[in-house]
Symmetry: C2
Subunit: 316 residues, 2 copies
């Protein structure tokens, strides 16, 4: 038997047929094309599910369950209560999928939580029961697994470590608070920090890099650092300190087996991971413990969310 | 059948016989009298357990299990790996209790976790499954319950939200980090903040209050605020903002059913709890959710740890 995993994103809808060893047998994709009505979007979700089954060469009778990850808050009845970037407000996702795909068990969960589940079971976590996944992207997403289960709290909005203040009265965050981890450790924040340093250092090599690449991105400061640029070194060091601060907070709060760090910035590999680990080792509260939380790079990339969604039926 | 709960503290050892409805039938207490050897301390623990049984009028055959809360880190074998203020290093607590009290099931756990368990089941939590207890005392202690179980992480050092940085490069904390919540929201921190304001405001009524009371304590600024003193108002407002910051971080991370706040400062009651709730309501990430984390005052005081310890056998 197989499971279908769907990743409903702000940009694309991806569906895949996943086997019991977390292998992807068939995958299909279509643009989400927001803004448009939920009915149209769900018609397309059902279509890519059928396409993925065709590619995999399986039928609905081979499918044990369908799981879908979505931005926003999903309640226990499979209703997407609120998803800002899809324009969804109380969309009965489970029922809409049942009506369109067929009468199989259907599970809906927040996308960051699905990605965490995917990495914990099928990715770097290797079956880890106590696991946190952090994604450094446009924002800072996080998903928390404790005793093998997603922690989504009393209102299905849990796991938002990105909106933990690390600097009281600090930089404004999109959530309305000031000084959230996201406002310091997201790729967006890194780009702001890079631009600020460029204004402060008109002679920095970053100006040249940006001329060549067309715009400032999450790599600009890292590239400048590799060329020995002082402004680049300063930006990268500060950024790593911000990322580490939040990771150490998570370690002290939950002492998970592993925290995996994903998102585009992680392509920097050891340049990011090694100093992060040094910070965590030096500052964690559990300095005397023999066993320590591992900080590792995410392995599955965009597939984490799809595989995690496919797993929802077997985990929940 | 009954359970014995023991609270091994830096100052006192307290043991109690607890019934199935969380009632305390007999209680005994003796000074911990540190520094002294673990053997002597455990002789005294066994003695107060026997005294508590005598007072309750029960014998060892009436006891299902013995649970003990201790400062520091306790591993899965019932060994206290490290407890700074007891001078303990790899003390085989479970075995030492078995040798002295008798061959009954014995459970050892960190004291803040026991207190959380006590409040969650027998106190303000009223059986809450997803629960965080925060104690504003000398430090900021916390215990986390998820799906009815204590979260103590991969190395039994979890649940330390007090050592979550809320101000990067901020006030130094006893743990070695800078800017921990504990360094802003503990009673110790409040006293520091009060003293600082007194230096800044030589005309503040706080100088008079301190003359009468003998020293600055956690009540000084609150008492001054009630007299309309500007310095007092400033200290209290800032302190409440610091406490709220950490509480909102916990809400965003875990969205528990309830966070209970305990410790001496909570005797201020609604003066503390009402503005705390206002901050949390305004800043939590889950602003659109119908169900929200409740922020409440701890109910059981020092008994929380004893009742929680007694519960360990039935929960674990």
């Amino acid at each position: 038997m197989y499971n279908i995993g769907v990743d409903l994103g702000g940009t694309n809808i991806v569906a895949a047929v996943v086997d019991e060893k977390y292998g992807i047998l068939g995958k299909s994709k279509t643009p989400t094309a927001t803004p448009r009505g939920a009915d149209e979007i769900f018609d397309d979700i059902a279509r890519v599910c059928r396409e993925a089954m065709d590619i995999a060469g399986v039928g609905l009778s081979d499918i044990s369950s369908l799981g879908m990850g979505t931005p926003g808050t999903v309640n226990g009845d499979g209703i997407i209560e609120f998803a800002n970037n899809l324009g969804f407000n109380n969309v009965p996702a489970r029922q809409m999928l049942k009506d369109r795909v067929g009468d199989i068990p259907i599970f809906i969960e927040n996308d960051a939580n699905c990605a965490a589940l995917g990495e914990a079971y099928a990715g770097c976590g290797n079956g880890s029961d106590n696991f946190v996944a952090v994604t450094l992207g446009t924002g800072v997403g996080s998903g928390v697994i404790i005793n093998g289960k997603i922690v989504n709290g009393v209102n299905f909005a849990g796991g938002e470590f990105g909106h933990m203040v690390i600097m009281i009265d600090g930089a404004p965050c999109t959530c309305g608070r000031k000084g959230c981890w996201e406002a310091y450790a997201s790729a967006t924040a890194l780009i702001c920090q890079t631009k600020e340093a460029m204004r402060e250092y008109p002679d920095s090599v970053m100006h040249e890099i940006v001329k060549q690449e067309g715009k400032v991105n999450g790599k600009t400061a890292f590239d400048a650092m590799r060329k020995g640029d002082i402004a680049g070194i300063k930006v990268v060091n500060n950024y790593i300190k911000y990322v580490a601060c939040g990771l150490i907070n998570i370690v002290n709060a939950l002492q998970p087996e592993m925290i995996c760090v994903g998102g585009g910035i992680c392509n920097e590999g050891d340049t990011l991971l090694k100093p992060l680990n040094r910070y965590v080792m030096a500052e964690r509260y559990s300095i005397h413990s023999k066993i320590q939380t591992k900080i590792v790079k995410a392995q599955l990339g965009n597939d984490a969310g799809i595989i995690g969604a496919a797993l929802l039926g077997s985990i929940k």
